[in-house]
């Protein structure tokens, strides 16, 4: 009798297990849907499409290997990217993010490039209890309180970008500083950080002007900046601003001992094409990966591998920083799916938090705060130094841990 009972129990348990196994296999989706937006036109088109290409690049590679490993289902599942064009418009982006969440029922949402197009996704993600993977929306305002539904994965908050720059200027005893910055969150928060850092060491900028975000004409402004005789002139803008600024600087015939702009470090090729190597020489920027190399990574490809692989699938083109940022968002999502025991939004968020501080990728150390902010991946300072063959070499001059050479300061005239 007892034996019979035991057998029955075993049979039932076995049946239950099989059923459970069948159920879990049945609930594993045939594809993992990743929803994202890109800007086909408008102000953010260049950077947004670069990020989208990076994400596509990741998806293609993952699918070539049979898909992404999802721990909850213990198998590889192919990835499908669902993407819409928001035309750089926040209202269009709002409806399309919602479309991704409510209609396409994507498994993960990746926000479009930059803070402006990310901003509208944050409340939506929270409302629908979706984890928002945020590659490049870095406004400090997003990360004020603890959240389970936001993770900035590829760039640090823009407010911390200029910390190394401030330290470097202090180290070089450069005290007369001029700042020109765009009237937007991205540039304004960097200018605020710089000014706050300078204040700590008793330095007040000798020239400090905000300009409209759409400013394209710096000739007259440069002239007024020159009248204040700064040792260092720092222009914080978007890509078109930096192009216009550097072009104006070159054609004005003015000379400053130290010039800093943001985007040559992220889009060097594009900048060289637009403003010429001549206009960039001896200027400084934040050198972003792949311009600076991370050789020892423990997730995904290292910088050299990434550059080579990218070239193979993009007709030999060199990837830029935002490409790397899109790819980085992909590999972190994959890692989260591969480690989270449950295929849920909260599970994946927890996995992203658990990885924090333990992982280095193509864009550097990854460190996620409970508020969703990215604390790793500090950007160093580099100078573009002309070589004998006329090319520009990116020399990292600060901090010492990344240093590849000494700054040439003041920059030679002419």
């Amino acid at each position: 009798m007892k034996l019979k009972q035991f057998r029955l129990a075993v049979a039932m348990a076995a049946a239950a297990l099989t059923a459970a196994g069948a159920a879990s296999a049945a609930s594993a989706p045939s594809v993992i849907k990743i929803g994202t937006l890109y800007a086909g036109s408008g102000n953010f088109a260049v950077a947004s499409q670069a990020q989208y290409k990076g994400l596509q690049f990741w998806a293609k590679r993952v699918n070539a290997e049979g898909g992404v490993y999802v721990k909850a289902f213990n198998k590889k599942i192919p990835v499908k990217i669902v993407a819409y064009d928001d035309q750089s418009s926040t209202s269009t982006a709002t409806t399309l993010y919602n479309q991704l969440i409510t209609q396409d029922k994507v498994d993960l949402v990746v926000s479009d490039f930059g803070s402006v197009l990310t901003s509208v996704a944050i409340p939506l993600a929270k409302e629908h209890k979706m984890l928002l993977i945020d590659p490049t929306g870095s406004s400090a305002g997003f990360f004020k309180e603890k959240t389970d539904y936001l993770a900035d994965v590829s760039i640090p908050s823009s407010a911390v970008w200029p910390m190394p720059l401030a330290k470097f200027l202090e180290q070089e005893h450069i005290k007369k500083i001029g700042i020109i910055y765009g009237s937007n969150d991205f540039d304004g928060s960097q200018a605020d950080t710089l000014k706050a850092e300078f204040k700590k060491i008793g330095v007040t900028p000798v020239f400090d002007h905000a300009v409209p975000t759409g400013e394209r004409n710096y000739t007259v402004l440069l002239h007024s900046a020159a009248a204040a005789h700064p040792q260092a002139l720092i222009e914080l803008g978007y890509l078109p601003n930096d192009v216009a600024f550097l072009k104006s600087l070159k054609s004005s015939g003015l000379h400053f001992p130290f010039v800093f702009t943001i985007f040559p470090g992220q889009f060097k090729q594009l900048m060289e094409k637009n403003v010429g190597a001549d206009a960039l020489k001896y200027t400084y920027s934040y050198p972003a990966p792949p311009m600076i190399k991370y050789e020892k990574v423990n997730l995904g490809m290292n910088t050299d591998q990434f550059v080579t692989a990218w070239g193979k699938t993009h007709k030999g083109a060199e990837p830029n920083f935002v490409n790397a940022g899109g790819y980085n968002a992909g590999i972190l999502m994959a890692k989260a799916m591969g480690t989270s025991p449950k295929f849920t939004q909260l599970g994946m968020h927890q996995a992203l938090l658990d990885m924090s501080g333990k992982i280095t990728t193509v864009v550097g150390a990854y460190k996620l705060s409970p508020t969703g902010a990215q604390l790793g991946q500090r950007l160093p300072i580099a100078q573009f130094q002309p070589q004998k063959d006329g090319s520009l070499k990116t020399v990292v001059v600060y901090p010492d841990s990344h240093k590849t050479g000494n700054a040439i300061y003041p920059s030679p005239a002419g």
Binding site: L221, H223, V243
Partner: protein, 294 residues
């Protein structure tokens, strides 16, 4: 301080003259056809991409973009005029209807540029227009600014001569004054308007050639701001009068540069504040005849 002031004024004059050229084509089309060409900025951008194309693909001096702009204006403008303008004129409120139509057209042009050239900004080499600087009153400005201002003055002067010294020009002005009367006096309104339309587009395209020099680069997506600034300038000047537009451009240019020198973050306000003040104080513009009613 005085040096800064002088520099801002000389720079503003050059910049403003160039913006006179940017706006003058819009003025002509608006004045003659009462069409609100919301795609004006896009035509300027097309001119910029044309110059980029002759410079990069053909290896020619970007100034060859000027004849290309004229050619492009004929090729695009002639069919476009006959496809849309006569129909608009027959509608109840052509001015406002043209607003939507040209908004749609702007979308199309923007999309085509983005699909064809990609979203990147494009620049042109400084050396092509000299690459040095020229000083006036001790204020050095890049050669390209002087070339742009020179071409702008010539183009606007040419338009003025056309309007005041040729028979077609007389007819054009008659249509500007009163379209119905012009019909009645036997002017072939459509032909004259079509020519004005083409000239307007050509001038926009010609301005575009210099956009990469005065604005650093040209790319899809800057059309809107070019269009709104142009509207401001043409109203500051006055409708129908190219010399007025040149003057409107000067006021805009000098105002913006002075503002940029002393209160940079507010410099965007200049064209709009000027516009509102001027239309309220002198609605006909600085150079025009009265138009207000009620």
């Amino acid at each position: 301080m005085q040096a800064l002031l002088e520099y801002a004024i000389v720079g503003g004059v050059l910049y403003g003259i160039f913006f006179g050229l940017v706006a003058v084509g819009l003025n002509l089309i608006f004045g003659v056809m009462r069409i609100i060409n919301l795609a004006h900025g896009e035509f300027v951008i097309l001119g910029g991409f044309g110059a980029y194309w002759v410079s990069h693909s053909l290896g020619l001096n970007p100034l060859w973009g000027l004849p290309l702009a004229a050619l492009g204006a004929v090729v695009i403008g002639f069919p476009l005029y006959y496809a849309v303008v006569p129909g608009l004129q027959r509608s109840r409120d052509p001015e406002m209807l043209s607003f939507i139509l040209f908004f749609g057209l702007a979308q199309i042009i923007d999309a085509i540029i983005s699909l064809g050239f990609g979203p990147d900004q494009r620049s042109l080499p400084d050396e092509a227009l000299g690459g040095g600087t020229i000083s006036v009153l001790g204020q050095a400005f890049p050669d390209s600014w002087w070339v742009a201002a020179g071409v702008s003055v010539l183009a606007i002067l040419g338009l003025w001569l056309y309007l005041t010294r040729t028979r077609l020009g007389f007819a054009t002005r008659a249509i500007m004054a009163n379209r119905d009367e012009a019909y009645a006096t036997g002017i072939s309104v459509d032909k004259v308007s079509a020519i004005a339309f083409i000239i307007g587009l050509a001038l926009a395209g010609a301005a575009g050639v210099f956009v990469p020099y005065l604005q650093g680069s040209v790319g899809p997506g800057i059309g809107n701001s070019l269009t709104t600034t142009s509207f401001a300038i043409l109203i500051i000047g006055s409708l129908g009068n190219p010399v007025g537009t040149l003057f409107g451009g000067l006021v805009f240019g000098v105002g913006s540069m002075l503002m940029q020198t002393f209160y940079a973050s507010w410099s965007d306000l200049v064209p709009y504040v000027l516009l509102v003040v001027i239309v309220l104080v002198r609605p006909q513009g600085l150079f025009g005849k009265a138009v207000r009613h009620a």
